[in-house]
């Protein structure tokens, strides 16, 4: 019998101060009504596009905000509200706004907060589509995007001016897994009266809750760990009710809402959130350690390794380090690197991450194929880089698969 199965010796807390519910308790129950429609234990999937009113007076009561209810599917859905409340609870935030995808979420926030002439400052290690949206599309609306080196807070401070409205970073970043000092990042925003956004997709609220550090908005591609089964697309922004109110309103106009079936799968996926994250964290750490000791591996990017440049801040700030591991194959050109990817049997070659199934990709081929060699160098994407999203399979099986692929 392991130590963890010993009965707790602490006194029963109903006789002492109230205790915060455990994360898994929140994952299963938070945001859900105790008594649901038809007394069902699970929430129904409400597919309705529109909602009926009993009378004209009921319409007027709704418009005058005397009654909280649904009106038309684009403005809200009962299942969506449940998941939004659950995600807000897991992040320790007041409110959450759900979108059709992670990109729809960041676009929704940027379109709400930025006007022509405004500026946004990014840390440069980020999902290439976020960068592309700002550089190629926001610019068409007169918004200026400035990029500074990731985790260079002085450079970010220097890039802020009176027109700056938003500071944006991922933490950890993709695919380098650099970890932002959230306290310092939030402080920078407050000091200059600029709002801050952290894309915490790779961390998840199991590992870090950025709002607790004073960050204004947390963004997730919920397609990844939150959904967790590689079978839905979703995005979410969590923050204060007041700050998210205009975001929600614009979502209702732009219409990038999620679908009722997806929302149900997301709610279902969240029930096992803590278990999955514990396993992703353990697998990420085990795989990173194995790779770090393998002669064919030149470098491993994983914040849980002491060799990682952001290990100290990651340890202070994070409970675990996630399932994503990036590494370089020693002395390999792009074809030799591709051969390692192709030789894996358990991990599937595919974009995305954070699901129960392990996925593997070579950033050069998957995301940066059409980017020039100079730009790839600028973004830090060498030809011999591999990104592995560890699923929840047994670590031994993942390691064995990597070993045979590296030694093939």
């Amino acid at each position: 019998m392991s130590a963890s199965t010993q009965p707790s010796s602490e006194p029963v807390s109903s006789k002492s101060a109230p205790r915060e519910p455990g994360l898994s308790t929140l994952a299963v129950h938070a945001g859900e009504a105790r008594q649901k429609a038809a007394h069902a234990i699970t929430d129904p999937i409400v597919c309705a596009s529109t909602y009926t009113f009993a009378s004209t007076q009921a319409v007027i009561d709704y418009i005058e905000q005397k009654q909280d209810r649904e009106e038309y599917g684009r403005y809200g859905n009962p299942g969506e509200k449940v998941v939004e409340r659950k995600l807000a609870a897991l992040e320790g935030g007041e409110d959450a706004v759900l979108y059709a995808s992670g990109m729809a979420a960041i676009v929704g926030l940027l379109m709400t907060k930025l006007n022509a002439g405004d500026e946004v400052v990014f840390f440069d290690e980020c999902y290439h589509r976020s960068r592309e949206f700002c550089a190629k599309h926001l610019s068409r609306f007169g918004v200026v995007t400035r990029q500074v080196k990731a985790c260079d807070y002085a450079a970010m401070a220097a890039a802020i001016n009176s027109r700056t409205k938003l500071l944006v970073s991922e933490s950890p970043t993709n695919p380098h897994l650099s970890v932002v000092d959230l306290e310092q990042f939030a402080h920078l925003g407050r000091q200059h009266r600029v709002e801050t956004l952290i894309d915490a997709t790779l961390a998840t609220p199991y590992n870090v809750q950025p709002l607790k550090y004073g960050i204004d908005y947390v963004l997730h591609s919920a397609t990844k760990y939150l959904g967790g089964h590689n079978d839905l697309l979703a995005g979410v922004i969590v923050g204060s009710r007041e700050q998210l109110e205009p975001v929600r309103k614009l979502r209702g106009i732009m219409g990038a809402i999620n679908s009722p079936h997806n929302i149900y799968l997301l709610e279902r996926g969240l029930k096992t959130f803590e278990l999955r994250m514990q396993r992703h964290n353990a697998n990420g750490q085990a795989v990173a350690e194995f790779l770090a000791g393998h002669p064919r591996v030149e470098k491993v990017y994983y914040p849980g390794l002491a060799s990682h440049p952001y290990h100290d801040i990651a340890r202070r700030q994070m409970r675990g380090f996630g399932g994503l591991v990036t590494f370089l194959v020693r002395g390999a050109d792009w074809k030799e690197t591709a051969a390692v990817v192709d030789a894996t049997k358990l991990a599937r070659i595919a974009p995305s991450l954070g699901g129960v199934e392990s996925l593997i990709e070579q950033p050069l081929v998957m995301s940066y194929y059409e980017v020039s060699a100079e730009d790839r160098q600028r973004f830090g994407i060498p030809d011999n880089m591999i990104r592995l999203s560890c699923g929840i399979e047994n670590a031994e099986d993942l390691i064995e698969d990597l070993r045979q692929a590296l030694e093939a």
Partner: protein, 380 residues
């Protein structure tokens, strides 16, 4: 590959047409055939459906069997196994079994001339003694419902072999994470997939798993002929559930053991029935037979009978008052009024289903939250 890796990958290969990492949900009722009189792998969804088949293949692998059949419900699965029997045949069933199985045997099968005898499967001699020359099948549960009795699966399988009868086991409570009866000699493993396999209280399903091809062919014929198959949406959700099966069952079992140990030391409880406790009569056997944990179902008895048990069941806030089990949400129920209400009162008395029993299905919530909830409810 290890159990958890197989749960994610076997039978769930990516879609060859689109590369989709998760196989599609095939809602089709029928399949276009290559020619008149030539049949493709699938012809009509009652006879076979790719989404259902994916679930069947994963489950068959996890149970260490060769073949699985997925049904609309657990009862449909049990009924299919029982349709192997005919008029004059006799079945010996354990005495600590689900009320719905009791009802099927005593109130439906009797009308087609199948006779049943209940005997304690924990007492091997008594159980074997109930076998008659007409006996064709032994049927057990382990852990039993609601008393959590542990039956020696390998020993019962040996009796079945020696006496030339089939042996079926409802493996719902243990799940293949903790017990794989086919590896112990059982002929048929039955599941209510509604419980741990699905695991999220959001589907109804059942399954039969076997190793013997001849037995599979007979069961498949019956399933196809009677038609109580699992739907494609349920099969998809069940497959999705299997991917976290081991994580869920081990975590829920861990919490159940902590709760059982805490409850065993509480003066407000007269009995705790949980095989993980050293005082449980099946403890040593469970340690040998169950793979590193004792399941997430436990039954307690409170003094004060029906009224006292009712008060507790109606007072918990986190444990929800509902039938069913095995999901992420913890549930509480009174066997006398709920899962075993279809027993005759005399049979309830004979088989130890007393008025003060409370059955707990321990979910994924944090141990401390569940303990505090029970503590409050017992205090009322």
């Amino acid at each position: 590959m290890q159990f958890r890796t197989r749960a994610i990958h076997v039978g769930q290969e990516c879609d060859p047409q689109t590369g989709a990492v998760v196989p599609p949900i095939h809602v089709t009722s029928t399949f276009v055939q290559p020619g008149a009189g030539t049949w493709g792998e699938f012809d009509y969804s009652r006879s076979g459906n790719p989404t259902r088949k994916a679930f069947e293949r994963t489950l068959a692998d996890l149970e260490g069997g060769g073949y699985a059949l997925a049904f609309a419900t657990g009862m449909a699965a049990t009924h299919c196994a029982m349709m192997l029997l005919g008029p004059g045949d006799h079945v010996v069933a354990g005495s600590d079994i689900y009320g719905g199985t009791y009802r099927l045997m005593h109130k439906v099968l009797d009308r087609v001339g199948v006779k049943v005898t209940l005997a304690p499967s924990t007492d091997l001699a008594a159980f074997e003694k109930a076998i008659t020359p007409h006996t064709k099948m032994l049927w057990i549960e382990s852990p039993g419902n609601p008393q959590m009795s542990i039956t020696d699966v390998a020993a019962v399988a040996a009796i079945a072999k020696r006496r030339g009868v089939l042996m079926g086991i409802d493996n719902t409570f243990a799940s293949p994470v903790l017990t794989r009866p086919l590896e112990l000699g059982a002929d048929i493993v039955m599941h209510s997939a509604t419980k741990y396999l699905g695991g999220h209280s959001d589907l109804l399903g059942g399954a039969l798993v076997v190793r013997d091809k001849g037995l599979f062919d007979r069961l498949y014929f019956l399933q196809n002929a009677t038609g109580a198959v699992m739907g494609p949406f349920e099969a998809f959700l069940a497959s999705r559930g299997l991917k976290t099966l081991e994580l869920r069952v081990r975590e829920q079992s861990r919490t159940a053991l902590l709760l059982a140990e805490w409850l065993a030391g509480d003066f407000r409880i007269s009995r705790v029935l949980y095989p993980g406790l050293a005082a449980h009569p099946g403890h040593e056997l469970a340690r040998r037979q169950m793979d590193g944990a004792f399941g997430a179902m436990l039954t307690i008895e409170v003094p004060g009978g029906l009224a006292a048990a009712k008060r507790v069941c109606e007072s918990t806030k986190l444990f929800q008052l509902a039938v069913s089990l095995g999901a992420v949400e913890s549930l509480i129920s009174q066997p006398v009024l709920m899962s075993h209400s279809s027993y005759d009162s005399a049979a309830r008395a004979a088989h130890g289903i007393t008025d003060g029993l409370i059955r707990l299905s321990v979910g994924l919530e944090a141990f401390e939250d569940l303990r505090d909830d029970l503590d409050r409810a017992l205090g009322t």
